[in-house]
Amino acid sequence: MSEQPNAATLSSPNAPVVVEMRNIVKRFPGVLANDHVDFDLRRGEVHALLGENGAGKSTLMNVLAGLYRQESGIILVNGKQVHFSSPSDAIHSGIGMVHQHFMLVPTQSVTENILLGLNKPRYLMRLPDYDKIIQDLGERFGLKVDPRAKIWQLSVGEQQRVELLKMLYRGAEVLIMDEPTAVLAPTEIDSLFNTLRSMLREGKSVIFISHKLQEVMAIADRVTVLSKGKVTAAGIPTQQTSRQELARLMVGRDVVFQIDKKPQEPGEVVLSVEDVYADNDKGLPALQGVSFEVRAGEIVGLAGVAGNGQSELAQVVAGMRLCNQGCVKLNGEVICNKSALYGIQRGLAYIPEDRTLVGSAPNLSVTDNVIMKAYRKKPIAQGWMIDMGTARHFAQDLKDAYEIIVPNVETPVRLLSGGNLQRVILAREISGKPALMIAVQPTRGLDVGAIEGVHHLLLAQRDAGAAILLISEELEELLGMSDRTLVMYEGRIMGEVRETDLETIGLMMTGTPLDQIQGREGVKNG
């Protein structure tokens, strides 16, 4: 990707405002996702919406695209107030959104997907005619894709073009792109940017949601930064700002948490990750030569914006993902590319990112869920049988010790709140007295009290001499909890920090290696 002179020339500060959002408030249970947010978009510009995960970017745009309804605040399109109750209302007003996860039917052709849900053609499909129309439309905007191709035959980049065509065909004047580059290869990113520029020339406007600084600098005219649901920078021109400034605006200024942590001398190396390469679910490289160590009695934090390989790393260590190259050792023993059981039997505990999809069996009882790893061992296992009495006692003890609020241990865990479910998982993992614990987003979606509880449990583990790898997107949590913090970006470790220098971390999280940052400062100072 090149930081060539961007599209700023196409729009002027005097261009008419096409979309204006004023004082938008959107609340989810326990979270204020958008806290009186203002946003405006001018004709012919790319306006980037920058922020960490959970900052409220997607929520704001889902409001604009008619998927959510705001609790208060108004939306003006071309100066007129609008009320959207569905995405089709939004597209009627010329606003179309391309989601991160495409909504296409894999077995149908490009044209069929574009026509899906429209009233015309009504009875006969007359596909060849429409193929032609789609082809012309594609050529006009530089979106090359064969209208007759089936979706499953297309690459991710081509599928994205189909989504764009779908919106253009429906008459979208404003295109919202939700992290469009997250799924693309670098060359595809370039061609996407070219497409966006040709759309601007046709008078369209683009809202570009991203958390990657260099992309924002490359394509956007203006940028609005969101942090924890609030605007920290409103529509500043990209030419008048710098990556450093944006990084700081994005991660916020103040560390609120101060976590009491006893100083502790780390012990032996427990986990060592040596030059690991692995692919993600789509078969693209997710880890590209990751190496680090975690010692007994220390918490190592792993920072980074979601989707930079942290989840994959956790899965490789837990034995749930193959690593292509390199190796992972637990207490000197190779554990990667074995089974998940192999690690479990050697003292590996894993708090997965997804509590309901991976960490628990929703329709089984609390008892069944807490014995998930202990059921192979005495006293719960009695030969090939499970001693249900002992299992129930075990669950009862954990319920009391970890203050799991649940009527009884026979309750299915799908009825538990997020915080309680997380306690069930923590109770299970900690009760195995692990040598190594991998905790991925252990406090996501929990309220303050529950977060504190989880922190105390993790710190108690550290004091008990466990090695802990803490992966989180909450910087404050990471810096408060960890003895040292590694920053990951696109499958590589950008460097290690011990003190809380948010600007440095922000830059590392957006792709600048630590030695470069220090090198630059060296030049400045020297």
Partner: protein, 379 residues
């Protein structure tokens, strides 16, 4: 170019001042609730069935009374009901264990037929001489039936585990192969005088029946209930223990509820897929053995391939995949089948079966959702 499809929908629902809303239940209903709902569903189904009977010119109450009498009215018909229920019990158990792991074994029918063939092989190959004791014959035939059924379960299981072949299709197709296979043997190898059946098995190879003891207990005269029932009940109890009390059963339940959590817990899903389908096949095969040696006494396709494998699917669902409940539901289904022979028009019991099934499945919805009536202003 702009192709606008819908007008902004601002219209409010008109008409009634209230609406009916479905809300997911946030709390577990009390333990008696599912039983009550199921009972209510059966009552509703009988009412619907009654309406249909009425319009087809019958008297609903008399028809129901007749059905009850024809299947439970005397010890004789009760015994017939149980004989009908026995094969269904086995196939439903086969489905229970497979469905617990969300493996959709549609092949209980074929596994059942293969079980009958496996038991016949012991008698007709002959693996045991005709004069061998009944108490050697029975375990050997059980083994033969279970092995043949297990092989028929292994094939879709292995294909599923190693090559991700959809087990619904493969197990279904295996049914046709099983019928053709048995046809080959009864036409070409074991045919009796050119008929499509094998010779009758020697008496030693019959499962003991109640009427065998009629000499000492006259009450048992004419009762054809055979040892298969007892084997089935024992199998159900063992299966209950496996599912709810064993480590393996725990693994099956965990995989069935959330395979990713099972993988996370270090459970080998591939191995369990093969194993569960083999056990499922073995149970269905045991049913085939019970039917051929307890009821038919010779291998032939017509009364053996009677769709028990498919009825087993329904029974397994109605029992909520609980092996002990399957015993009761199988007997109810045996009764409905028997009643089909007794009353006119003969479609009625089949239809009632269908209505009960639809109502029971639909009632499941009420366990997860509750119905609330809301005034429009509230919403």
């Amino acid at each position: 170019m702009a192709e606008v499809t819908t007008k902004p929908s601002s219209s409010q629902p008109k008409g009634l001042p209230f609406r009916i809303r479905l809300e997911p239940r946030l709390e577990e209903p009390p333990s008696w609730f599912p039983a009550l709902i199921s009972l209510a569903a059966i009552v509703v189904a009988l009412v619907f069935g009654g309406i249909v009977i009425f319009f087809s010119g019958g008297d609903p109450l008399r028809s129901y009374a007749h059905i009850a009498e024809a299947s439970f009215g005397s010890i004789g018909v009760l015994s017939d009901t149980i004989v009908k229920a026995t094969p269904i019990l086995f196939t439903s158990l086969a489905c229970v264990i497979a469905f617990r792991m969300k493996l959709w074994n549609i092949g209980a029918e074929g596994q059942f037929i293969m079980g009958a063939w496996g038991a016949s092989l012991v008698v007709l190959w002959p693996i045991l001489p005709a004069e061998a004791s009944q108490w050697i014959f029975i375990p050997m035939m059980m083994l033969g039936g279970m092995l043949a059924g297990a092989i028929w379960g292994f094939i879709p299981g292995y294909l599923k585990a190693k090559l991700r072949v959809n087990e619904i299709i493969s197990s279904l197709m295996m049914n046709y192969i099983a019928v053709a296979w048995v046809n080959f043997w009864i036409f070409a190898v074991w045919s009796e005088g050119g008929f499509q059946m094998t010779p009758k098995f020697p008496d030693n190879a019959w499962l003991p029946r109640l009427l065998d003891y009629a000499k000492s207990i006259p009450l048992l005269r004419g009762l054809t209930t055979h040892l298969g029932l007892l084997i089935g009940i024992v199998a159900a109890v063992i299966l209950w223990f496996i599912i709810y009390r064993s480590r393996w059963g725990y693994e099956i339940r965990l995989i069935g509820d959330n395979p990713r959590a099972a993988q996370y817990a270090g459970i080998n899903i591939t191995r369990n897929t093969v194993l569960v389908l083999m056990v499922s096949g073995a149970l269905a095969g045991l049913g085939g053995m019970s039917e051929v040696t307890g009821m038919v006494h010779r291998l032939q396709t017509s009364p053996i391939a009677a769709g028990y494998g498919f009825t087993g699917i329904i029974v397994a669902w109605l029992s909520k995949l609980n092996p002990l409940v399957a015993i009761v539901v199988s007997i109810l289904f045996g009764a409905l089948i028997l009643a089909g022979r007794e009353i006119q028009p003969s479609g009625i019991p089949k239809m009632i079966q269908g209505i009960i099934l639809v109502c029971l499945i639909a009632s499941d919805f009420l366990l997860r959702y509750r119905i609330r009536v809301v005034r429009n202003e509230e919403a």
